[in-house]
Symmetry: D3
Subunit: 137 residues, 6 copies
């Protein structure tokens, strides 16, 4: 089920501005497989390109967090946001980047712990301690 | 503002089952400061103890993810869940565990990127690719 | 802080269509106090009336769930939705309807438990068991 | 998969209080097709009628926002709330009311932009500027 | 679709630390059926045991809220969190504990009402009334 | 309260890469006032620039949706995501772009209606009608 058309490779290849993004996805990921997210975004060429460029800049550049840690954070956000598609695709991405079963288990434990204390702090409407405020720092 | 009473040290000290948890919090964290979350949970001694024990087991044990990475995941979940208190307290905790400004900036970028593609995948109702399914693995 | 004007009693009393709703709120609740939610809704008289009438029908009629149980459910939803105002106002309402500290503690435990397993089921994308489907019942 | 029975036309027609709502849905929408949402609500005749009456009043009356703009807002909320069913049904409704592919692309861009800055503002816990407060206006 | 393997009874039975939890689930629930949630958690034996023990303590002990009321609260949270699996499994659990169609209809009405006023209070950013604050109580 | 420092104009002006963004914000908006969101993002110059450039591209370009309609959608998403800051800032932005009180009232009604039916569709787990699927279109 989808609210939009999913573009086949044949259709993508007939549109140069789409094909160039798909070519880049395949080259960067070193894989011929392009998942449905990009096939849905293809309905809007500008958004397809912008999203892919931003994803590369955020997830695939050198930085202070490893690519795997970034994927774990991505899974955590996607889980809390209830995005079924994103949980699936980024869990696969984390595994492709070497996530062990032990790391995956710990990720789940932290997500579950956070969800639980988030609910408690919200239910109790705990006031933020003054010491946590950095606005005037 | 809070929906429950926040317990002062004097009140905590008058109840041994609360005092023992607060003593442990202070000892484990090597700090005399105990934040409001625990002062709100103190209304329910059993929940206070269980939450603290579970938090220690999830966040402060040896494992395959570093304590800092677990805090980053915690911030990510708390942000997506919109828990103001938890974002404040776990950002402070991450800083106490050595989070650099560079890491914090990357964390924000990943959270923002994930929130954005979560919204797009949900808006488009992208069907999960068959290759992501591991249920029969 | 608010994105809209909060109407004072003096202003309400100058508008008969607002005053009649406020009079009914005071009479039904047997209290002169009218909380800010209604003072904000007063900017839109039709919505003020509709929301109040619907709230009465859902929360204050005879039914198979007691008024207190309905308040507990209201708190649970408001917590999961992260509505600070609603958590405050409905916790007060539940207390006014006799919620004990023991019931409040159990409510928090169930909310926290559900938040935790919600996160786990979403992280793992557990497929719904066929036996739970009632669509053809 | 559903947690409740979906009522067939045959079953609806055997219950006059359900049939009258379904007749009105068909007449107002000028279509014989009635989607599953209403077939699930049919388990609770009062809720079926109230929801339909409220939907007509909110979405199908003359007003200052066009019916299409209201559908775009509906899609935006449904996306942020992660309601798969509602995203599907209201995207179809928006198309039926003339949503162009260009408008749909812009809607997605705004939803994605908002999701992204929502996450940033929450992660940073940005304090609301005093100038935005209208409570005393 | 799932991001993890679902364990069959044969596989569970080959691992004593998993089997002992599954045996307890079957005995406590007086049913041979074990739903997919536990088959997914089985990938992480420690989490399987902890989640089950916590669930028993929260949902199946004597207390001031009946087991059915706790299930209604669980459904409410799961709905607001958009956890499809949990809505299915806990609606089935509530029915098994005697939830009537009338109670189910009222539960839905309260959930829908709360979702609606949560949205209004958040849209209007209604400031919390001072009288609701219990932090200094 | 904030988890990060808010940059004053004096501090911004001392950093050319920040100053150039703030200058552009002031010029595009034709106002000297720069709200706290940008003062918090200033801790991360790259994110400050990217977010501002993306916001201009999404919200302030010619398109098929008017700037005001885009703001209404932004408010809707921010409300559903529970982002207090964003609800405040974008409600102010919508007013600055001419939102009438009548439009604002209708916006709230649609948001409240959607929140309500989102909750019902999720509680009932209504299966998506086949006719809504466009994946093969």
């Amino acid at each position: 089920m989808s609210t939009t058309k999913l573009w086949s490779d044949e259709e993508i290849n007939a549109h140069p501005e789409l094909k160039s993004v798909f070519d880049d996805i395949r080259q960067v990921r070193k894989s011929d497989f392009v998942n449905n997210f990009w096939r849905a975004l293809a309905n809007n060429p500008k958004q397809l390109r912008n999203t892919w460029e931003q994803l590369k800049a955020v997830m695939m550049t050198e930085g202070e967090l490893t690519p795997l840690v970034r994927e774990l954070i991505y899974i955590a956000v996607s889980t809390a946001n209830g995005c079924s598609y994103c949980v699936h695709s980024h869990t696969a991405a984390a595994r492709a980047k070497g996530m062990t079963e032990g790391q995956y288990g710990e990720l789940q434990s932290v997500i579950a712990m956070a969800a639980q204390t988030n609910a408690l702090a919200t239910a109790l409407q705990v006031p933020v301690d003054a010491v946590f405020d950095l606005s005037e720092s």
